[in-house]
Amino acid sequence: QQQVKQSPQSLIVQKGGIPIINCAYENTAFDYFPWYQQFPGKGPALLIAIRPDVSEKKEGRFTISFNKSAKQFSLHIMDSQPGDSATYFCAASRTGGTSYGKLTFGQGTILTVHP
């Protein structure tokens, strides 16, 4: 059962464009939503995260938008650069209970930013 669905599977944009990656979740108990960035041959690294008490969070050129009622969240990359080319994973977890700390990941999006 895939509890976090991510789209699109791949995305190509030109430098300066604003790629948007979307995720939808099913478990309403989830209360922590991170995005991880992975470069080829490396492990994923935390990029930005949000909790459902806010609808938007910005860190530099990266923004998470969160819609609790729709059970959806998305990653926007402003002024994208070729160095942003990577695989992006959304994830979700709940803080508390036996699932404490366990992340459920989306399927991943391969982003390519052309110069």
Partner: protein, 115 residues
Amino acid sequence: NAGVTQTPKFRVLKTGQSMTLLCAQDMNHEYMYWYRQDPGMGLRLIHYSVGEGTTAKGEVPDGYNVSRLKKQNFLLGLESAAPSQTSVYFCASSSFPSGATDTQYFGPGTRLTVL
């Protein structure tokens, strides 16, 4: 401070052979995790540990065993490898999830091929 390290980086096994993947972290983290990454599937949790001497099953535990004899080490074992276990394996660690920061730190991965 090496963070999370994994040994080996690459391995080729024949069906039925056994092996152990080693994960080590020097951040004094309580929680450790083993994931597998397959194309189009994201990262799926195999087993995890919330402290020394404790382990628990994740999403896809069949065919794998784990041990956490020391706080800094988390071992993943394959007793009888199968081609379906061909994957990239990632170890991760985190401090006790506090609600403030639940960052998981990933190792560089082990690419395993089972023939």
